[in-house]
Symmetry: C2
Subunit: 389 residues, 2 copies
Amino acid sequence: MSAQAAPGFFRSRWVDPPAGILELAPTDLAPGFRAAGAACGLKPSGGTDVGIVACDSEDVGSALLLTRNAAAAAPIRVCRDRCDPDGLRAAVVNSGNANAATGEQGYRDAVAMQERCAAALGLDPSQVAVAETGTIGVPLPIERLLEGIDATAGALGGAGGRSFSEAIMTTDRGPKRCCVRAGNVTLSAQAKGAGMIEPGLATMLCFVQTDAVVADPSTELRRAVAASFERITVDGQMSTNDAVLLQASGTSSEQLPPGLLDVVLLQLALEIVADGEGASRSGRIEARGAATPEEAERVARAVANSPLVKTALFGGDPNWGRIAQSAGMALAGEELHELGAAAIEADELGGDTAEAEISVDLGRGDAAAHVYFSDLGHRYVELNAEYTT
Amino acid sequence: MSAQAAPGFFRSRWVDPPAGILELAPTDLAPGFRAAGAACGLKPSGGTDVGIVACDSEDVGSALLLTRNAAAAAPIRVCRDRCDPDGLRAAVVNSGNANAATGEQGYRDAVAMQERCAAALGLDPSQVAVAETGTIGVPLPIERLLEGIDATAGALGGAGGRSFSEAIMTTDRGPKRCCVRAGNVTLSAQAKGAGMIEPGLATMLCFVQTDAVVADPSTELRRAVAASFERITVDGQMSTNDAVLLQASGTSSEQLPPGLLDVVLLQLALEIVADGEGASRSGRIEARGAATPEEAERVARAVANSPLVKTALFGGDPNWGRIAQSAGMALAGEELHELGAAAIEADELGGDTAEAEISVDLGRGDAAAHVYFSDLGHRYVELNAEYTT
């Protein structure tokens, strides 16, 4: 494990890390965790497409958040049905095939992945989470994948953060990962996601490992996810496969420092926004002065998901008329007469900042909500018109 | 007025006109109506940007449907506050400036338009509807516009359908208009709209004139709009300025033939979809087997507004996985395990049809709903990243 001077993981203006955090090499893992990635031929490119992350300690505490999409993929249903969410020792991932809308065969395949990984690691299947991402609606080449799981399990190691973080990527421009230390506690995380992003309960794929003591992993993870992955949108599309896993071994015997998980997940969430398929800029919309938190949320999401606002962000145009229009749409049937330029601050859209801020004051109350979003440019169209089943 | 052999207004596969309809020249107006369009310098291009349509008969019956957007434009509020919706003799329109989010000055300007048009035509202001479309949030050059209204009023004529239908255009690729005859009844209509289209109650701008007897214009118009403009989406964006006006003079002494208004509005709505900013294909998504009509509606709109489905339509890719994902998002928290390929028909996405059909069978009940939508391609990004305040 090697400390670095200024790797700059916390690079967003919207992330304010607590003092005293040391950034380690982003491919490092928290002590007591091992990982690996391998290629088993699911991706036409031949890239790495299967990964495993595992905790050495039997006393691991964990939490797992899953998508609420009604057409949830087989691995999501297997996690719901057959995992012990509090005691997950390992996760097995493939990034070539989402195994979604694949019916009962898809479910059996996800179970087979879980069982094969458990057998290879000497665990009970209920201790292994399954995550998959990639094309929807295509049967899984399960034999190839099971062989890949065996190979990956055989390659697990403390230096496997690099190959694991690469093995979970799909249309990502690059890996999203970090390893940070605060006191004696280390926390490492790997995420993927670029399109089909507007998490409902959890989000895309994210794996977090720490040797800290986390008394209530589920509460910690829900709070951190609510302020990070649930605050972002690329294209307003809730995935069939979103999953976030937190594993805490407690071997450092220290508590997780307050705020550490939050800033790591927020920076990773913002990496996903910045890597929104074809994105060139990120935006942060804050709806203030709403009558209720739900109203603020509705307005912020309407602005963040408006293709007219997103193309204006792409074009660097402070088109506040489109912001007023989308805010008004979110409150259809009500009255917002005074939503003029004075109530909307969006000048940075016209600048060359990579992270633009917009605020709307609805003048109806004291509630506020914010959402981070990506712009909509030509690369989005290219990527999504050409990415095929 | 000149009858034509095959002008082909009813060109969509999804429109089935009643028998015996004669298509007249699309720039014709129903007898007893006059219109005109002129240029008063609101558009940088110098194009026609002010229009008036008026009924000669004092016994006109009318109906007016307006957007529900909470940031409704000044002309919408003036129509609500100061028009007699049942007795509208005329409408005045500008297509250079939406007069939206322009505060109290905008409201006074819209009142001034109404009063100037009424004075020029010898009407009471409550008999004149005001409609505006164009850039949001920019003060109206009202003096220039009032002079334009005078000039337009002076040019009104039975042959003015051409200049009027052109004077209401913004980013439209071309005018959307028709004139049809059934028995002794004539009905003419002019519409505009390409972007910021997902009507709530009414939609973009549409003006319909007929010499038929229409006993209850409001009920007739609501029904026809519910099955046409309220079934379409280009970008999921409810405009600040949507308005539809029906005027019926009754001078033919014949009832409006059943279905005639419906097919005219549906074809015009489909013209707007086909002209969705930069669109190259239209789609029709039908959600069947839903538990309730609301559920069917929610699923159909989620599919129609998914940028992933829209880019797949652009790419000619029958990517049913994205259809399953967006349908599942619309029903988040529920279960749709069986939403496999068998439940989704979208093969036409892969063909070269200009009008592709998709259906999803949710297998939960008997309710159904459909929505027409445009694809998402490079031209949408170009138009909207470059169209500025």
